[in-house]
Structures are given as C-alpha cells and as structure tokens.
Symmetry: C2
Subunit: 334 residues, 2 copies
C-alpha cells in the first residue's frame, strides 16, 4: 500500500530533489507523477532507478494524486492549487503563494507540526532563509523566549534555480578569461560580486525576501511581537545559504546551556570548535539534511543575546526536504 504522489515542477532543482528525497526516505508511494510547465512535457525525470515521463501540469492531471508537492512558482501555484485542493488532493506548496493565507498552515515539522491539523488541503512550505534560521533558533526560543533577531544572509545562487547556477558558472568562467558576460538571471554580474537585492522591493525599501523572514517567523512561531531585522544578500556560492544571526532572548542563559540545547535539537548539527577550525561552510553542506550551527558566542555587551553562524543546503532543508518531511508527518499521523 502507498500513496499516489505528484511532484509539480519536477524538472526544476527543487522538484528533482523532492523526487530524490521521496525515494531516499522510502515514502510509501503507489504511484508517482511528474508534472511541469508545457515546455518540459515529454521529458523524463528520475525516481530511484525509474524514469518518469513528465506531464504538463493541469488540474485534471494533478488531481489524480493523494498528495502533490508543488515547486513550480507562485503564479502557477495560485492558478492551479485552489481547484486541485477542492478536488481532494493535499498540496504542499513551496512557493510564496499561500504562505500568509490564514487558512494555510506554514510548517517546519521540527517546530509547528501541530499547525497541520487545521489544513484545508493546502499547506505552505516556508522560505529557505526562514527555515534554517528558525530550525536553529526555535529550540532556544522554547527555553528563553526570543525577543529580537538580527539576521544578515549570504544566499547561494541555487535559490534562483538551475539558470542561476549556470549563470554563476558561466559568468565566473568569462571573468577569468576576461571575456564580457551579460547577466540574464541576476540584475548585475554575480561572479566575484555581492548583490544586496533578492526578490522585489516592497514598502520601506525592504525586499520581499526580507519581509518573508519577518512575516513567516511570526506565523510559524505564533508570535508577532518578535522583532526581526533582516538584510538579504546574494553571494557567489552555488549551493547552501548562510546566515549571521544575533538573537536576543527574554531570559538569561549560559553558553553551555545553548550548546546543550542545540546539540539535542532536531534537525540541528553543531559544528563549533574554533581552535580546530571547525565551523559550518556552504561548500560542505551540499546534499546534507541538517541545519549546521557554529561560531556560537555570547554577545559581548548584551547578557541575554548571542551570535551564531547558520548554514544549510537551501535546496534540501530549505525547500525539498522540508516539504517531504511535512508529507511524512501527515502520512505517519493520519
């Protein structure tokens, strides 16, 4: 026995990783469907040793599934998901389309799986930068209550898909050969550069990426009073997002307690031994499931605050893995 599962956006970076993780984690699958936009129709994707033919994403097609994991972009999610949900398929959507919808649970399984019980067939997967930040902070929040978060991100190009990875590689190669290269995916050259601009600009000159970190934190932790101050920056890294985080809590703690809590926290791996040069780095998180935490230090002036450095594979825990974990939780708690 198993479930009919559809991956929608199956040819993208996240979609392919979803298929890989569904297989790796032995999710009980009776049928697997791969959907994508019209231009990928008829191509094949892998699921274990099988080749799956990609179908065009339609309401009728996707509604065959019990569960549909969407990672096909906000517009198509908005267009297709409501009708598919109405027909009884449970959708776990990786886009921004429904995240702030009060009828849609926004879930990190390590943090708020109980929110799943009120779903109306659409569940939202949070933004990659939010997921890794909160997986690292929530265990501390549960003990000492978060008051304020400053976060500066160092986001890899893979957050923008396969074309962005190609652009970084091609642009870098052109730079080394002193050839011209015109960026197409990013607004400026990303090779050997930093771009402090991810997603569109909203009010108050914050980007939508930054505002996602604020709003999603409030929704996931059920606490709109937590002060979040984010700045999001694109860096010339292929895969893995990194974050400098300063977190201030309501109550006092010792550094020893922080290490204890994080070492036992679900989904977290502490890599923190400076004298042996042990700290997380994006190059070494590729393909791994954990949120890696290092450079853990007390703030020098605020006794209730700490600094840390958090790295995770944005395509796995930041997207595909979190979605599959939601699915897993729902199957196990049916």
């Amino acid at each position: 026995m198993g479930y009919k599962i559809a991956v929608v956006g199956a040819t993208g970076l996240v979609g392919q990783e979803m298929l890989k993780i569904l297989y790796e984690r032995k999710i009980p699958v009776s049928e697997i469907y791969a959907f994508a936009s019209a231009k990928s129709e008829g191509t094949y994707v892998e699921f274990g040793d099988e080749k799956i033919k990609v179908e065009k994403a339609t309401v009728d097609g996707i509604s065959k599934a019990d569960f549909a994991l969407f990672s096909i972009g906000e517009e198509i999610s908005l267009e297709l998901a409501p009708e598919i949900a109405k027909r009884g398929t449970i959708i776990i959507d990786n886009s921004n389309a429904f995240r702030m919808n009060p009828d849609v649970p926004l879930v990190i399984p390590e943090i708020n799986p109980e929110d799943l019980k009120n779903h109306k067939n659409i569940i939202a997967n949070p933004n990659c930068s939010t997921i890794q930040m909160l997986v690292a902070l929530n265990p501390l929040h549960k003990k000492w209550r978060l008051k304020k978060i400053f976060v500066a991100t160092y986001q890899s190009v893979s957050g923008k898909g396969k074309d962005a990875i190609d652009e970084l590689l091609t642009a870098t190669s052109s730079f080394l050969k002193k050839e011209d290269y015109s960026p197409k995916v990013f607004p400026y050259p990303i090779a050997f550069n930093l771009i402090p601009h991810i997603d569109s600009f909203e009010d108050e000159n914050y980007t939508r990426e930054e505002m996602k970190m604020v709003r999603e934190t409030h929704k996931i932790l059920h606490d709109p009073t937590i002060k979040v101050s984010p700045t999001c920056v694109r860096v010339p890294v292929l895969r893995g997002h990194s974050e400098v985080i300063n977190a201030e809590f309501e109550e006092e703690f010792t550094l020893k307690e922080v290490f204890e809590v994080l070492s036992n926290a679900p989904g977290v791996k502490v890599l923190d031994d400076p004298s042996n040069r042990v700290y997380p780095m994006p190059l070494f998180c590729d393909g791994k499931d954990e949120v890696f935490v290092g450079r853990i230090r007390k703030d020098l002036f605020e006794p209730k605050a700490l600094n840390m450095w958090v790295v995770s594979d944005n395509i796995r825990k930041g997207a595909a893995l979190n979605a599959v974990q939601i699915l897993e939780y729902m199957i196990n708690n049916k």
Copy 2:
C-alpha cells in the same frame, strides 16, 4: 620643497596602492623611498612614471624619511617602528601592532583628526572593516549618538594580500575544471565558499578581526560604552569589503534626516534607489575612494535603529588611502 617619504612594504598590495595615491593626490614629495622585506630587495615599484628601487627595510634606511607609511605586517612594525620613531621619523602604521597602544593615535581623518596632535611619532591606521563602518556611522553618531552596532561583514580576499587574490583565482579556475586545489592562504577552499573565520581566535570565540571592530570603534569614537556585535566572514570576492549594519541610536530620527546627513558626510557616497536597482556592490567599488552606503532603511521594530549596506575598497579607504589622508592632514596642519 617637499617631504622625504618612505613606503615600507612597498611591494605589497597596500604598499603599491600607497605609492599610487601619494602620486595621484600630489603629496609634496622631495624624495620617495620604497622598502620591503629582504626577498624583494632590488626589485622595482612604480611611483608615477618613475621606477623606484626597493631597499631592504632597516632602521637606518627608513630613518632617512620625514614620514614612513608602513604596511609590512605586525611583526616587522613591532621590530622596527619604535626605534625609527625615536630617531624622529613619523610613522603611519597600517598593521595591528600599535592600534590599542594608548600613546598611539588611531585615526580616521574624517572622524578624529584632532587625536593626531598627541602623537609620539607613531600613528596607527585602523582595520579596514572598522574604517568603512565608522565613516558611514560617525555622521549619524554625531547627531543621534550610537548605542549599539550589529555588523556582519562580507570581506574580500584582497584583505589578505596578493597571494590570497591568486588563490581565489586559481582555486576558482581549478573548481571549474574539476581539478583538485589545496588551499595555502586560507584554511579551506574559498572558491564558491564562505569562511566565517578571519585572523586568529581570541577569548569567547570571537576572532581577532571581530575584536578589532569592537576595540577600535571605542578608541576612535572615544566611547567604550557603544555596544558592538560583529561577525566577520570571508567571501569569494576579489576586492571590496561589504557590511550589513544595524545601528541603534540614543535619539529619534527620520529616514529623510539620515539621507541628508549621509549625503553631506565626508568620504561617504549614498547609492540608494532600490526601484532603479541602485545599491553598492563590491565589483563596482574597486579603485574608488568613497565609502558607499545603500539599502538604508528604518528598523521595522526599533524606531531608533536603522539597517544599511556599506561597501568600500578595502585596499584604498580601508588601508592605503586612509594612511595617505593622515599624512596629508599632518602636512596641511603642521
């Protein structure tokens, strides 16, 4: 008429930039001397159209100069500078050797040139990350008094010299060709990676680079009560350091006032027009004198705090230019 000026560490990145800036800014030079470690003796460096023969750095040699700009590393500065200073040459030292010495002024000419009057022939140039942070923050501090600074750095490899630039280029090229490359300058591969470790680790698991930003801020602003919370990260960028800064002030301000103050601040250039994709980026600050400030926003929850993104050429304003500006100030205020 002019001054006898020595550049000590003349073959390094900063030393060569010092020579370039001394020439560009038409510093009145009667004699120019180039000194370096023994291994560069007899090579040549450029000063305008002239070729200058490099001499081995010795007390006797350097003492011929009225002013000596040092950028030869902490150890040699500690060894040579005190005796040279005793013989009457005024030293402007770019290393960490004397920065926290109470007898040594630590000066950013836009901020605390008055500290120069108490010098005892040694003046220290601050750390690159500190300089660009304070050039951007001091004009605001003067109006609303800084209370707290949270800073995450994105530091280019050039801060570690020419070998580090070569290592990033070679490592990147090897990565693209899927060839192995063993890092020599950095503890880990820097190509397409981030390393949250600059300089050695001190107490409390802060790096020395991070502690410089704390201690130097207190010394330059004459205020040890300002809370500084730094995390320093090396990024795969060739030249130009970037910083995410959240600054909290004692008094209230409007965003309009912040733009006015920064637009009129010495050494600062505001690049901030998000709707037209205008913000600073390290790729475009190379060779420029200014500290570029953008992404200026009020903190979403703290009415007396703001976020900003600060970029500057670490070899120019972060090192060589600041040293030459100190020299210029001393010549003009003799």
